[in-house]
């Protein structure tokens, strides 16, 4: 039996199912907690921290924290919004994000968060690290300049035996995403598309389909990311 508990978000009282993840509880109430690494139904990684909320005064990752009775959750406060904006800015300076030439532009979750928080300029210096592009597989381009290490691809894209097509290589500054060359040869069309759609940024791209949707008709041209969730609240 699922247990119903009381909790608050930004001072407002709600009831929800104990044990459910905070990002998902909030979404059901029409409250948007942003995510980049989380994907509903996939084991949470809690790696990007964009979902940071305060629970009873302490910072927690909303995508890994299960709901408990009497939680006092802060979500929409200047402090938290600034931390989220800082995370977005950090991701921008850490990779090489040339949005004007990016296939994902307009449909990219990282960029969309930059729009939502009106990032005019990152507060951190640009790294401009050299990163490679791997276009050696038949179906996919891996544009490593744009990887934000959310690990969605590693966790989600697997063959029939359960083997991951993607893996992380190296550590720290040298960390990079890589696609298994042997597995990639036999990757199905379905998996190729699934990988591209799972990637929140423009790092995994299906070859030959870039720039299909014109400017003005893309996902985030007119509406902010999170609007679909917030609509429930109106």
């Amino acid at each position: 039996m699922s247990e119903i508990v009381k909790f608050t978000i930004d001072g407002k009282e709600y009831e929800g199912v104990k044990g459910q993840l905070l990002v998902e509880v909030a979404a059901e109430k029409g409250i948007y907690i942003p995510v980049l690494c989380h994907w509903k139904g996939v084991k949470p990684a809690g790696s990007c921290r964009i979902c940071s909320v305060k629970v009873n005064g302490r910072f927690m990752a909303g995508c890994t924290t299960p709901l408990e009775a009497d939680m006092k959750i802060e979500n929409d406060t200047p402090e938290i919004l600034d931390i989220r904006k800082a995370i977005v800015e950090m991701l921008f300076v850490e990779g090489n994000h040339f949005c004007p030439s990016c296939e994902k532009s307009g449909n990219c979750d990282l960029q969309a968060l930059g729009y939502r928080y009106q990032m005019m300029v990152p507060r951190f210096p640009y790294e401009f690290e050299r990163r490679d592009i791997d276009a050696s597989s038949p179906k996919l381009i891996i544009e490593k300049n744009r990887c934000i290490f959310c690990k969605r691809c590693v966790r989600m894209i697997k063959d029939e035996q359960g083997k991951s097509y993607f893996a992380f290589k190296g550590r720290g500054k040298h960390l990079q995403i890589s696609l298994d060359k042997k597995l990639a040869v036999t990757m199905s069309e379905e998996n190729a598309h699934k990988a591209m759609d799972a990637c929140p940024v423009g790092c995994i791209l299906r070859k030959e389909v870039g720039f299909a949707v014109p400017i003005g008709k893309r996902k985030y041209d007119h509406v902010s990311i999170g609007t679909d969730i917030e609509k429930l609240n109106k």
Binding site: N96, F98, C99, Y115, V121
Partner: protein, 182 residues
């Protein structure tokens, strides 16, 4: 009261941002009522003839001349605005930033597929040419920048809203659709 004075420049940019400024359509008539232009490609005034209020700069710094012009603008303008992705983060020219300059020049003048005619292997070396920098720098890494208007090019409505707000002193509320990075 005399009109606020505006100066503009394109450094390592493509002039697209200036084109977007012209894209404000008939509001350009209003603009020249509101402000006076000084050094700018728009009126072709080449040197500062007086202190300016607002300097608008497109493009990042890719060579020594860009830095010189940028510093000149900082000296002569009360407010400096970084206009567009190139000014804010180097933009497409900064795609070379992770690559050593020598590798870039070798590719451009010696090894690239279209340089077959360069039989003497000449690298541009005229003394008149500005020095190329180790990488393309965002403007705010060279001088203090007061405001940033992102986009490639920034939407004409964003430029208009920002300049009008600066000149009239009104608060600037930027609609969602005007802040874009492409």
């Amino acid at each position: 009261m005399s009109k606020p004075i505006v100066a503009t420049a394109s450094l390592a940019g493509c002039f697209g941002c200036h084109m977007s400024l012209l894209d404000i359509d008939e509001r350009i008539l209003k603009l020249i009522e509101l402000v006076e232009f000084n050094k700018s490609p728009i009126d072709d005034i080449k040197t500062f003839t007086k202190q300016c209020d607002i300097g608008i700069i497109e493009g990042g710094c890719c060579n020594s001349e860009n830095i010189e012009v940028l510093k000149l603008f900082r000296k002569n303008c009360k407010i400096l605005i970084s206009l567009g992705e190139c000014a804010i983060m180097g933009g497409l020219p900064a795609m070379r930033n992770g690559i050593p300059v020598k590798e870039c020049l070798d590719e451009a003048y010696l090894n690239g597929p279209t340089v077959g005619e360069n039989k003497e292997h000449i690298m541009p070396n005229d003394d008149e040419l500005p020095m190329i920098l180790d990488k393309v720098y965002p403007l705010h890494e060279i001088v203090k920048i007061d405001y940033y208007l992102p986009g490639c090019a920034p939407r004409a409505d964003l430029i208009w809203a920002a300049v009008a707000a600066l000149v009239t002193g009104d608060t600037l509320n930027i609609p969602y659709e005007l802040v874009k990075f492409d």
